[in-house]
Amino acid sequence: MEDGLIIGFDLCKDFCRISYFVSGQEEPSDLVFSEEENPYVIQNSICKRKGEDVWLIGQEAYETALLGGGSIVDKLLRLVARQGFATFDGQKYSAEELLFHFLERTLEFLFAEKKTRTVLGIMYSVQELNTTVLDAVIRCTKRLGIDRKRIHIISHTESYLYYVLSQKRELWSNISVLYDLSGDGLNYYELEVLRGMQPNVAKASRTFLEEGFSLEILDSAAGRKMADNIMTSCVDRMLRKKLISSAYLSGRGMDSCQKWGENFLRVLCQRRKVFFIENIFAKGAVYAACEYLRENSVYPFSIMCEGRIDVDISMEITQGNNQRTLALASVGNNWYETKEDFDIIPDQETSIRMKVKRLGERMPIMIEVPMDGFPKRPQKVSRVNVALSFVSEKMFTVTLTDKGFGEFFPGTDATVRKTFTIGDGA
């Protein structure tokens, strides 16, 4: 592999963490942002110093704002999701512009420490795959000069899956679980390798647990006791009948669990290997980024988890003199990265038909997008652009655009768009 950085960027709603890998390392390293209480975390906040074109992030942003040196925007990703704006020095900035400066400053920590700006791959790991945020993240990263092919995004669930599968086999031979306790609540992740399929399926899922509690209760003795009780009952209820190979703990709430979770840890550690991993999602993202850079996978599994689709979508086409099936999306594909764009010429057809087959179902169903509003022309002189993309794991859109037929029949850009929900007629 060429020299350069492989970056795992855990981008949460309120903070982020970075792990990275450089040639010669065996394990990903965590980036240290400061010497403060939690050195691996930086808050998603940005401040512009008054009267200067200087952007500050994290703790530095808070300090500057507190001293009246500038105004601050925190919870930046929420602002991006709302496509909001903020005003600094009387000038209006879009959330995306602020995100760009935030990512630039954040990655600058890494570039400065490693004394290189060569990025072989960057994998963002996010809790929610919100298209508005993801698109903005991709655009901002491209603006930083990183080639689009080197930028990827996965869910926390997938990061966790890659992290666990990159450990010794004995740690995932049965079920592996993760409790992530942060300001966003308590999330439970579970990974299981389903054997007997060809290839075997590594399936991971995430469950938001209603039992989750605010981290502020850990400030009092009574609160700590309550947290211990909640987590103990959670573990007892959820893991009692399961064969667990490994259990992981992560998140800001878990870094002090030895202080408040005596019973919880005692129950969890019974006949199980338990690990506290500081940057599990960022590290998992690094492993995933490495995997994306390889020509051949080192994981002999088909992957099923949040962010991956469970359908095959295809179309029968003619290429040259051959009839063949054109695969547009396959089970296990990352929905955000699944985008197809190609041109076809319909011959004696007034609509575009595709085959959709869900995992586990025997028969595919046919979906149809009529070319309504397209100009009437003789047969075979309409080139139609077909664009397929997902808006979530369960929803995809097919867009048809009339491109005409060169200068013989100029295109009109007439467009038809249809959205399908998987399991609801598609």
Partner: protein, 270 residues
């Protein structure tokens, strides 16, 4: 049953077809052009420019190599074209059979007849300047014994028509008088008379002095009648149509129309 043809790459630099003043961007458009404009395809159609376009612009090196090998070995352009159309898969089997029949029909024609077919196609496509070039090539070979008098006459008549559309009435008149010299046809003489009236040219006395006044008056009347009908149909004329559009479209279409005319004029000067 219908089908969907998966398209290949679109060229960044198109293949220019001078005869049609059109640019081709895809292999499907190239096939469409070959199939629908066969008379325009000259003997030298398969050349380095075409092969470069297919190989590098359309990124179809296998097809370019195959054409090169096939054409290099047999020098049969028709068979090579048929192979190309068949390999690309744009046309169905019945369409390919029909194309083959047209190739056979064309092959039976002499080279002069093929040039005439090309000229006629261009005339139908209103590519008058290109049509003139084709007809002039044939007209210059008028003395060739392999060319029949009837064929030569039909070439001159088409040439006169093309010149007429270009408002080159002097040349059109020369062609018509040339035909009259050969066959003394009254129909041709009447056409020559109409060209003279249309262009305001004085009637060449050497020819028209022998025509009775009564006949000339009859021809004059016929001309006026046709002119009246033509004026009545002006609203379907291309230029009139432009002026019926809204101002934005009118501006755009007028510019395009003038560009076409300028192009034709530049061609005349070449």
């Amino acid at each position: 049953m219908g089908r969907y043809i998966l398209c290949g790459k679109e060229a960044d630099l198109p293949y220019e077809v001078d005869e049609l003043d059109i640019r081709i961007y895809t292999i499907e458009e190239l096939c469409y052009y070959i199939y629908n404009y066969l008379p325009l395809i000259g003997e030298d159609f398969i050349d380095e420019r075409l092969l470069f376009f297919i190989r590098h612009e359309l990124e179809l090196p296998e097809i370019a190599d195959k054409i090169e090998r096939f054409y290099g070995a047999r020098s049969e352009q028709d068979a090579t074209l048929q192979m190309l159309l068949s390999d690309v898969g744009y046309f169905s089997d019945p369409e390919l059979s029909e194309f083959q029949n047209r190739l056979v029909y064309r092959r039976r024609k002499s080279s002069q007849e093929r040039i005439k077919m090309k000229g006629d196609s261009l005339l139908r496509l209103k590519r008058y300047q290109s049509a003139v070039r084709c007809y002039k090539t044939l007209a210059q070979n008028g003395s060739d014994s392999r060319v029949s008098r009837e064929f030569y006459v039909s070439v001159l008549e088409s040439l006169a028509s093309a010149y007429g559309h270009l408002c080159e009435f002097d040349y059109a008149l020369d062609c018509l008088l040339g035909i009259y010299d050969l066959n003394h046809s009254e129909r041709i003489l009447k056409k020559a008379y109409e060209v003279c009236i249309l262009s305001g040219t004085e009637l060449p006395q050497s020819v028209f002095s022998k025509v009775p006044d009564q006949k000339l008056q009859k021809w004059q009347q016929d001309y006026w009648n046709r002119e009246t009908i033509a004026r009545r149909n002006l609203d379907t004329d291309e230029t009139m149509q432009i002026f019926l559009q809204d101002s934005e479209t009118q501006k755009k279409e007028l510019a395009e129309y003038l560009d076409r005319k300028k192009e034709a004029c530049r061609g005349m000067l070449e």
